[in-house]
Each structure stands twice: as structure tokens, then as C-alpha cells.
């Protein structure tokens, strides 16, 4: 078994099934991002359209009622900023 291999073939589940649902979440796709969405809380009406149209499914409603992305996964596509009816989201260059 080389260092790069996933595991010995004997350890694979039958049919090479993946037994842990949704474990793609281990990959933090937030590293792909160049622009980051910034929410203007004064303009936001908490309609949740950004969460509906997020192709990463990473925008959720928080305790304060605002919808915010999980920056571990946000790829910075800018759909939320483009679709926001109040233009409350701005895409700005991220400092890394």
C-alpha cells in the first residue's frame, strides 16, 4: 500500500460504497474564493432569497434572523449579491 492510496482494497465496503453521508463537507471549498460577500445589515430585509439561490447550500438563518454564509464553503460566486432585492450584499476582494 503506497502513501497516496486511500486504504487497502480489503477495507473497502461492498461495491465501494461510501458509508458516511455528506462527507464531501470535509473539503472546505471556501479556499476557492477571491471575492467575499459582505452583508449590509441596515439594508437587509431578511427575505432569505440569498439562501434559496446559494448553489453551495451554505447560507442559513442565524439566531439574529439574518441569513449568513458559512465561509468554510462559500466559493464567492456572487449570486446572492446579484439576486438580493435590496442590494444589501456587496462582493469585495478578500484579504487572505
Amino acid at each position: 500500500m503506497t502513501k497516496n492510496s486511500i486504504c487497502a482494497w480489503q477495507d473497502l465496503a461492498l461495491g465501494a460504497a461510501i458509508l458516511e453521508p455528506g462527507n464531501a463537507a470535509n473539503l472546505k471549498t471556501g479556499a476557492w474564493r477571491t471575492l467575499i460577500p459582505v452583508l449590509d445589515e441596515d439594508k437587509c430585509i431578511k427575505c432569505g432569497l440569498c439562501a434559496v439561490y446559494c448553489p453551495e447550500f451554505c447560507i442559513t438563518e442565524r439566531k439574529d434572523g439574518f441569513f449568513r454564509p458559512d465561509f468554510d464553503y462559500c466559493k464567492g460566486c456572487g449570486i446572492c449579491a446579484n439576486e438580493c432585492p435590496k442590494k444589501a450584499i456587496a462582493m469585495v476582494m478578500e484579504d487572505k
Binding site: 486511500i6 486504504c7 465501494a16 461510501i18 458516511e20 453521508p21 455528506g22 462527507n23 464531501a24 463537507a25 470535509n26 473539503l27 472546505k28 471549498t29 476557492w32 432569505g48 439562501a51 434559496v52 439561490y53 446559494c54 448553489p55 453551495e56 447550500f57 451554505c58 442559513t60 458559512d70 468554510d72 464553503y73 466559493k75 464567492g76 460566486c77 456572487g78 449570486i79 449579491a81 446579484n82 439576486e83 462582493m91
Partner: protein, 337 residues
């Protein structure tokens, strides 16, 4: 054949009780601003956790399951390009057998996902066969209008005039020179209970169509417009905007066919010119005004055809004529007096 379809199991989704639990997890490998994975996520939101998915090869298979990881939170099987519908049929038969034996109590929803290539070209025979056999499953075609996964090769679902790597635009070519294959109408011609077209820009419409499709007894088909920023040449942020434009210019009209009866679900009062849609994408950038006018003509023609189908398959026009017929004898009666 026109027939009445039992939609009593249909639970409508409203803006207030929008399902939020997505069966595709974050961390999938789709491009920035992918409209296809967004549409697929919306379908799984509407279907809920009690679902089994058969997924043909394509973008959605590649981005959701880089071994040993999976973005799926529900049972999912990857099948070859051509047989998503056949495998879904097999899953349905297995579910039937398990229910008969009492090993399974809740009947799961069975959904097959395929791209336009696996639906219109490669998996077309298997799809037609599954419709003909009448399995109770939903086939969702995520139509991004070319083989995007392998690098933007044309499919039979690529629209007229689009430039792809195998239909490149140049001095002697306008890009794709054939018309887009009209898959929803082909599916409807099988006489299956439910056929619809949907767009992720109109999310409530899409989710409700999925719920309707899952509630009917028999096969159902939903054709979803899936914007592809990489393949179409547009910024990722414009995906939903383009999807909206496609509906507002009537390039992709939203309609459903329930038991053979056509109905437009999104009527566009003032359609925008097709050039608004064409100019927003790099794949159509080379088109001249003359070609754009031809595309406009085709779009108008297709819509007219659809409206005629709506008028021909619905009982409403006959009802509208009846009062006139009744009014006429009344006048005669008045004259006699």
C-alpha cells in the same frame, strides 16, 4: 391521450414553509455559480430525505462523488451514461418487492438525474423504455445544453447558433446549426402522467412541480434549465439572472403536461427580445442581427405551437363557446315574443 390524473397526494409548498434541508451537502466540487447543482439541490429539498437517487454520468456525478467522499446525504447510485432510467426502474422494482414482503414500510421516492447528454443522446432509449413500462419514478433532466463535464461538446440539446468546442463558430460556421431537441414534448408523447419544464430562477414553481411529479402514480419527467457559467461564457453571479431571462424571452417557456393537458405555468406578459438573452453569453457572441432575427422567429414559433397545444388540450375554450350558444336561443325566444 387525455386523462384525469390523481393529484390528491400533492402537498403544495409556499414561500412561508419552504423546505430548507438540502440532501446535497456543502463542499461539493461544482464551479462557482453552478446553476445545475442549485437546481438539483432544490429538487432534493422538495423530495425530502426519504429518497433514492440514480445518477447518470455527468457534471452532477463528478462534482458530488469524488471517491472516497460523497456530497449525498441520501442513498445514491452512480450509473453509466446510458442507463439512469433503467437503474431507477430496477430500484423501483426492488422497492415493490420489499414492500410486498413487508421489509419496507414507507415507500421512498425514486429519482433519476441525468444531464442533457445522458437524456437526449446516450440514455434516450433507456428513458423511453422506462416510460413505456410505467415505473413509478421521477426522471429529472438537468439541461445545461452541452457536454460540460468533458469540456463543452455539443449535444442534441444544444440550441441553434451556440458555439461549442465541437460546433465552433468561425468564418464558415455559425456554431450549432441544428435546432434543440424538444425533450419535454417527446416525454409527453409517451403518454406519461406528468411532464414539466422548470427553472431554478422560479424556485417555488420548480419545487411544486417536483412535489406534483412525485405524487402521481407512474413515471414523470421534469426538464430543468441549468445555467452553466463555464460553458456558456458568463460570470457565475449571472446564473440566475440568465435563467430568468430565458423564461422572460420565451427561449425556455415554463409549462406542465398533466395527463396530456398542457398548461403554461409562467405566462410572460411582455416578452423581452431574444437579443437580451443572446448578448449576455459568450457562446452566442458571434451571431449577427440576421441570425438573431431567425432565432427570435423560432422562439416565437415554438411559443405559438405551445399555445396551440394548450388551447387544443384544455376544455376551457369549449366552455367559453357554450354561453354564446345559450345566448343565441334566448334572443330568438325574445324575438318570438
Amino acid at each position: 391521450m387525455l386523462r384525469d390524473i390523481d393529484l390528491s397526494g400533492f402537498e403544495k409548498i409556499t414561500a412561508k414553509d419552504l423546505p430548507t434541508e438540502c440532501m446535497v451537502s456543502s463542499g461539493h466540487r461544482a464551479c462557482q455559480g453552478c446553476g445545475e447543482v442549485l437546481a438539483m439541490g432544490m429538487v432534493t429539498k422538495a423530495a425530502g430525505p426519504n429518497t433514492i437517487v440514480a445518477n447518470a454520468t455527468g457534471c452532477m456525478e463528478i462534482i458530488s462523488s469524488p471517491f472516497p467522499e460523497t456530497a449525498w446525504k441520501i442513498p445514491w447510485i452512480h450509473v453509466a451514461f446510458e442507463n439512469a432510467a433503467a437503474v431507477a426502474s430496477g430500484v423501483e422494482a426492488a422497492v415493490k418487492a420489499l414492500m410486498r414482503r413487508g421489509a419496507l414500510k414507507d415507500r421512498p421516492h425514486i429519482i433519476a438525474f441525468g444531464g442533457d447528454g445522458s437524456t437526449a443522446d446516450i440514455g434516450f432509449g433507456a428513458l423511453s423504455g422506462a416510460f413505456e413500462r410505467g415505473h413509478k419514478f421521477l426522471y429529472v433532466c438537468l439541461d445545461n445544453e452541452a457536454y460540460m463535464n468533458t469540456g463543452i461538446q455539443r449535444s442534441s440539446s444544444t440550441p441553434y447558433g451556440a458555439s461549442t468546442t465541437t460546433s465552433p463558430a468561425g468564418k464558415k460556421s455559425i456554431g450549432q446549426h441544428t435546432q434543440k431537441k424538444n425533450l419535454p414534448l417527446i416525454a409527453a408523447a409517451h403518454g406519461i402522467p406528468y411532464v414539466a419544464t422548470a427553472s431554478p430562477a422560479f424556485y417555488l414553481d420548480l419545487m411544486n412541480k417536483v412535489r406534483k411529479a412525485l405524487s402521481v402514480d407512474g413515471p414523470s419527467y421534469i426538464h430543468i434549465y441549468a445555467p452553466c457559467p463555464t460553458g456558456w461564457g458568463m460570470p457565475g453571479s449571472k446564473s440566475i439572472e440568465i435563467a430568468k431571462l430565458a423564461v422572460q424571452t420565451n427561449v425556455f417557456p415554463l409549462y406542465e403536461v398533466v395527463g396530456g393537458r398542457f398548461a403554461l405555468t409562467k405566462k410572460v406578459a411582455k416578452p423581452q427580445p431574444v437579443t437580451d438573452y443572446l448578448k449576455a453569453q459568450r457562446r452566442f457572441r458571434h451571431l449577427s442581427d440576421k441570425e438573431a432575427a431567425f432565432i427570435q422567429q423560432t422562439v416565437d414559433g415554438n411559443l405559438d405551437y405551445l399555445q396551440r397545444l394548450v388551447a387544443a388540450t384544455n376544455p376551457e375554450p369549449a366552455k367559453a363557446k357554450k354561453p354564446k350558444a345559450k345566448a343565441a336561443p334566448a334572443k330568438k325566444a325574445a324575438k318570438k315574443k
